[in-house]
Each structure stands twice: as C-alpha cells, then as structure tokens.
Symmetry: C2
Subunit: 219 residues, 2 copies
C-alpha cells in the first residue's frame, strides 16, 4: 500500500515433533521469510512451505535437501543450538519480528533452550513468539503491556522468568490482578497459573521483573 512500509516477519521452523504438520500453515503467511532449523525442514516440506534458507547439519534429516535451497551448515559438535543459529541468520538479514514455530512441545531441554532464544530476541527489542502445536510463549518485560488476541475461555498462565518476582496487572481475565507480585517458587498463592480469558483482547501489564506468558492453544 502506498506510503506504508511493509514489515516482513521471519518465520523460523524448528524440529519439535508435530502431530499434524499442516498446523504450521496457521502461522505461515506467503510473504514471510522462512528459515528452517535442521529437522524443521522436514515439517516445512510435509506441508508444502518453501523455505528461503535452512540452517543445520541435517545429520538426522530423513528427506532430500533441495539443491536450490541456500543452506548455512552447522558443525554437529557445535556451540549454538540450531534455533539460535537460525535466529542469528534472521537478525543478520535485518528482521525484527520473529515467529518461532516448532519450538515447543518436544523435549523440555529443547523447549527451555528456545525460551532462552526468545529471551535473547526480547533483549534485542524484537517482537517474538514461540509457537508449538498446543501452546504459545511470550515474554513481557518491565514497563510493557501485551494485548492477547485469544478466544474467551483460553487458558493463560503467567510466571516470572529470569527473576524471582514479577509484578503484574491483568485486564479481561477471570482472576484479575492489580499490581500483584508473582513468585517463581509458588511460596504464595500461584495466581499466575491457569488463568482464563474472559474478554478478548485481554491484556497483561508487567510493572517489574519479566513475565513468561504461556497460552494453551485452542485445537
């Protein structure tokens, strides 16, 4: 559109197992720049998404890497995770908005490593989300408010991340909070766990600390 600069999203497809690979299509837009992180290439191929770039060693990849696909090879005895290497490739190309699909729902160490990648993007001021087949994860820093555009009835949990305490307010949730402390050790009532959206969009404001928001996706 004239006078409006388009902001492209970098969609990274990770290797977390998907019961239905076509679920990827719900986060894919034709204009996205798509990077596959190692085994994520298989998921992309299974649902017909044509990536712009792939990153990995592909030592456990069952399919055929297309000859025309640009690949950044990684050493199997590597320092970076595949997901971090893919994100760095996106950052180098100037992207500031990231959707990390196939990043949750597999092994907890992989999911946790991807939370660290999400944190890295958040520290750089990027807009980013982790998307699994059954859940989504956001980070909200101090002074930030995030509107969540999810359906009424959706389960939303909020935890402190990389800190012991975060102070939050909710609007549009079943268990409302106003400038309330959440603790990472549940030593008080865990009012961050399993809240429910009552108005859409609802919103979460973080006044101090950092909050990890986990959304259970409607299937």
């Amino acid at each position: 559109m004239e006078g409006m600069e388009e902001v492209k999203t970098c969609l990274i497809i990770g290797a977390a197992p998907l019961q239905n690979p076509h679920s990827l299509l719900s986060v894919y837009h034709l204009n996205d720049f798509v990077i596959c992180a190692d085994g994520g290439l298989q998921a992309a191929q299974e649902c017909g998404i044509c990536p712009d770039l792939a990153v990995g060693d592909f030592d456990s990849f069952q399919g055929v890497v297309p000859k025309e696909l640009p690949v950044i090879p990684l050493n199997p005895r590597k320092d970076d995770t595949d997901m971090l290497a893919a994100v760095n490739a996106g950052l180098e190309r100037g992207f500031r908005r990231f959707v990390l699909a196939g990043s949750l729902g597999g092994r907890l160490d992989h999911s946790y490593g991807n939370l660290c990648v999400l944190h890295h993007l958040h520290e750089l001021g990027c807009d980013a989300v982790l998307v699994g087949e059954k859940e989504e994860a956001y980070l909200i820093g101090a002074g930030e408010v995030r509107q969540l555009d999810c359906a009424v009835g959706t389960t939303v949990s909020v935890f402190p991340y990389a800190c012991n305490i975060c102070n939050v307010s909710y609007a549009g949730m079943r268990y409302p909070l106003d400038h309330h402390d959440l603790f990472s050790d549940l030593h008080q009532l865990p009012m961050g766990v399993s809240n429910v959206v009552e108005e859409s969009p609802c919103s979460i404001a973080v006044h101090s600390g950092m909050a990890l928001v986990l959304i259970v996706k409607e299937l």
Copy 2:
C-alpha cells in the same frame, strides 16, 4: 537396619500423560509414601501402585476412587495447583525428600508450574526431583554440588533458573566448565545446552545464581 534411621521418600504421582504407565515403577519403592495428585491416581492404578493419599477434585478422573483411600478434596476453582497441594500434604506429614513423578512431558504450563513447585521445595531445603517419562529436572543453588548418577552418553542441559546468570563448574562432562557464567538469554555461547556425561557419576557445582538441570533419560 539397627542404628540407622530410615529416611522415607514422598513419591507424588502427577497427571502428565505417560506412554507407558509402567515407567512409574522405575521410581517407586515399596517403602515410599505415595500421594496421587488428581489424574495421577489413574496412572498409579494402571501400574498397580497403591497410594497412601490422593489430592484433587477428580472431575476429569475416569476410574473409581477406592473407598478406603484418604482423599484431600480440592475446589475446582482453586488457588493451588494439584501438585502444590500434594506437596503441601507431604510437607505437613514431615517428608523432606520428594520424587515428583508424572510432572514433566505434558503441557508446558503444567511443566513450568511444576518447576515452581520444585523451586518451592528447594527453598525449604528439601531434596527433590521432577521425573517425566523422558526427562528429569533438578535445581542446584549457590554453594551446592550435585552428583548425577546417569549413564555415560546421557544428555544434560544446564540453564539459569529464577535469575539471569549462574556461575557453574562441571566435572565428568564432554564440554567442561570451570567457574563459567551461563546466561538465560543465550547472548553468549550457550554452553549449558546439550552437554554429555563422559564419566559417571559426573557433578555440577553452582557458585552463584541457581541452575536448572535437565536430564534426557535413557529409554
């Protein structure tokens, strides 16, 4: 044994889905005090473990709650998670050693909530571990060393928990570290991710901050 006081373990069985319910038997000892957290009762029954106590509302429980089983009923619109309520019941009975089975491997919000319960037990000075079918989780605080009795070749990842940085040393691991900082945002090389046990037992020492250790179980 005469002169030795026996330290009983409180085994809590949570509701995380198990591909093979009999995998619970690998963490069960006949002498354990067993508490089932809501749907965990089903898993216990399926592998023939007879609990001492159950906690929950059992609104989604498919089986029959035995009449002789003591039950602590929970309100469905509750403040505590089922797992926290079960842990509190164990703490009230004097237990200081906890194995929280069926606590990882389901929804990430449930797993993350259980990490908060683990943190709670750690703050109280208890010995505790989360056990899923495919992974185990420990917390190690500043000034603590934990020996891990896992097989050579086991994948072990270490992340800061409830803090931005933790300083750690490893012994017996493929990628050794000596008083090295690990960051929660991967802004440096993520040397905590996917390390490999080379000598058993290996050990992890934490000098500052707190470390979350995630072990991929041999299947």
